[in-house]
């Protein structure tokens, strides 16, 4: 069913409607993660003993994941460039590369979590671990959701359809990156 409306085709602000909507999605996401992070920070400052718990996290696994996730944003940018040039198939291939980056991130994370849970650091053992799994889990959920949307955008872009979506999903992906840039030092490095 075709539901494209006249409303969708207008642009009173001069900004494409899709991009405008993505920015508003990010506003709501920023306050969601902001709520978790500020709560965590306040409690972390009030509980110096959480540092001992934090030292059990796998710093190098986190660092590797940071590298992977940041690199995957590069291919998202290149995909946007290809889409601007009208090369849909190339944009799609680059988006799949980004999805591969997201998948690597999630695989590494699942090994990391399995190890931690085997060592007895489950979500119930204490305040630090409650925040650790909730904040990183919420982020991982966003990585996964981004991968799904990106796969859909890649499949349409490969047919040179709706190439503006490549930029929009890229904006979202950069946001997911930025959240991780906050999470990594707060959960892994801060001792």
């Amino acid at each position: 069913m075709n539901v494209r409306t006249i409303a969708t085709t207008r642009s009173s602000m001069g900004i494409p409607t899709g991009r405008l909507a993505v920015w508003w999605v990010l506003v709501s996401e920023i306050v969601i993660f902001g709520g978790v992070l500020v709560s965590y920070l306040m409690h972390r400052l009030g509980h110096p003993e959480w540092a001992a718990q934090a030292s059990h996290t796998h710093l190098w696994a986190g660092a590797f994941n940071t590298l992977v996730l940041l690199s995957s944003s590069l291919s998202a940018v290149l995909a946007h460039q290809a889409a601007e040039a009208g090369n849909g198939p190339k944009a799609a291939r680059l988006l799949w590369l980004t999805i591969a980056g997201g998948a690597t991130f999630l695989i590494v994370k699942s090994f990391e979590w399995t190890g931690e849970i085997r060592e007895g650091f489950t979500i119930q053992v204490g305040g630090f671990w409650s925040y650790y799994y909730t904040a990183a889990g919420l982020h991982a959920f966003h990585v996964f959701a981004g991968m799904c949307v990106m796969a859909w955008v890649a499949s349409t872009a490969a047919r040179n359809q709706d190439l503006h979506r490549v930029e929009n999903v890229g904006i979202y992906w950069h946001f997911v990156d930025i959240v991780w840039i906050f999470l990594f030092p707060l959960l892994y490095i801060a001792k």
């Binding site: 409303a7 405008l20 306050v31 709520g35 959480w50 119930q124």
Partner: protein, 575 residues
Amino acid sequence: MSESAHSAPNIAPAHPAHAGHGEHAPQSFFHKYLWSTDHKVIAMQYTFTGMALGIVAAFMAYVFRMQLAFPGMHVPGFGVVSPGAYNALVTNHGSIMIFWVAMPVLLAGFGNFLIPLMVGCDDMVFPRINRLSYQLFLLSVVVLVASWFVPGGGFGGAWTAYPPLSAVAKYNLTPGGATLWLIAVALEFVAFLLGGINFITTAMNSRAPGMKAFDVPIVVWTIVMASILFMSSVGPLIAGAVMLAFDQLIGTGFYNPNRGGDPILWQHLFWFFGHPEVYVVLFPALGIVAEIMTVFSRKKLFAYKIVIYTFIATGALSFFVWAHHQFVAGIDPRMANVFTVTTLIISIPIAEMCFVYIATLYGGSITFSTPMLWALAFMVEFLIGGVTGIFLGASGLDIFLHDTYFVIAHFHYTFFPIAIIGTFAGITFWFPKMFGRMMSDKLGKIHFWGTIIPFNFIFIPMFFLGSAGEQRRVYDYRHFPELARPEFQALRIMATVALLVMLAFQLVFFYNFIMSMRRGPKAPKNPWKSNTLEWTADSPPPHGNWAEMPTCYRAPYEYSVPGRAEDFWPQNEKT
């Protein structure tokens, strides 16, 4: 008649940009009313769902008021109220009225109906996301209703759901009800985030050619600002709700001091959202009132731009007042002073709005139609709510008044004008556009007086009871000798009787609503001689709203312009 030339068969050829939008063969009931992407149908879905839940919440109020006035009695239609049932009733009454009545009707109902019509476009920018928004909302209703029927019964830990009561099943005794209630609230938030993105983007990007930001009617501004306010305040509570659900279900320790958590954290997350939420529902109501006041006083809205800046200032300030709900939660007195000051400051822009509305009325040629009566009543009743808020915002006095019936009376003097008076004002005003028929003005006025007078008799006694120290959340005052005095009980009975009278008069509204929808006189396009664009569409507007999309030439409130034959000047008329 030239108007009839624009009837349905002409719509399709006039939509070259998107053939296939208006010329459908008659759609099945399912596709037309349940699976529609038309903003007007979605608006009606939200409005009718909200009204249905309003009836449920009114029934709950009836049951617990009967228990308070006549403790231990067999309430007709319900039975004897147990303490657990009493808690579940007050909790769900509050939750429903805020999340499932005020928000769907004022924000989603009027927002969906008015935004595309007032900015002059055919639909929302994301019609399918709009449909998804309602479907998620409906799912949240199903989950909420289900929460009343699980073992243990509905959640009874108050609509604010403070832990540890809400987090620990051993304390609240409603493990299923508490979790389902939380899921329902979270789903409702997601529905309104999706709807809000639609409202904001549509109003920003899809305005009619020629409509600049300051040509947008005030109610569109207020609904959009309410959506932005909601979007930027609800995030921490969404995160907080996930954390509370984890505490309930898998035993994490976010709010549990034994595990390094903090129950006060929830209060911060809740009220960081909860206070802006007051303005989320207040703004659309203020916008509706402004539209009605200009039309029925035939005057330009006083200081249109200042009004918009005032709304922005109020929205920004509303993020810095939340801890005035926590004056007795062990807050540092120095912080309490800060929040007292910010709370008193926020009364300044709201007082200014009252003066702006009075200035709009001043010297106008006022018609006391039903919508106008509601709009004026909004001002008067909300003023009482606002002024008593200043008492509660002062931390010293709040320590005495906290959790008494003074608070109940105060917030009902704010929320009743918002959710009930604002809604009736809007429905009686836009009814001709919504359903293409006129409502009975006479029945409307009977309903108006039958609602407003008993309303004051319900809540004024509570100011006295609260000042005398009557605590809220008490199931039966006979256990408290100092509160069980006969003169107090007389006030409780007065409030309950007034409630019964008010509820009885709602039958007049429903009779008027249904009969006018079916048999009311046919409404012309512009029965109130209003300027805004929705009145240039047919009543009711067809799918796609206009055969030819309107162009905007001027600001929305050009009434009684000297030198014109007519006392109004529609936005789409070139000269």
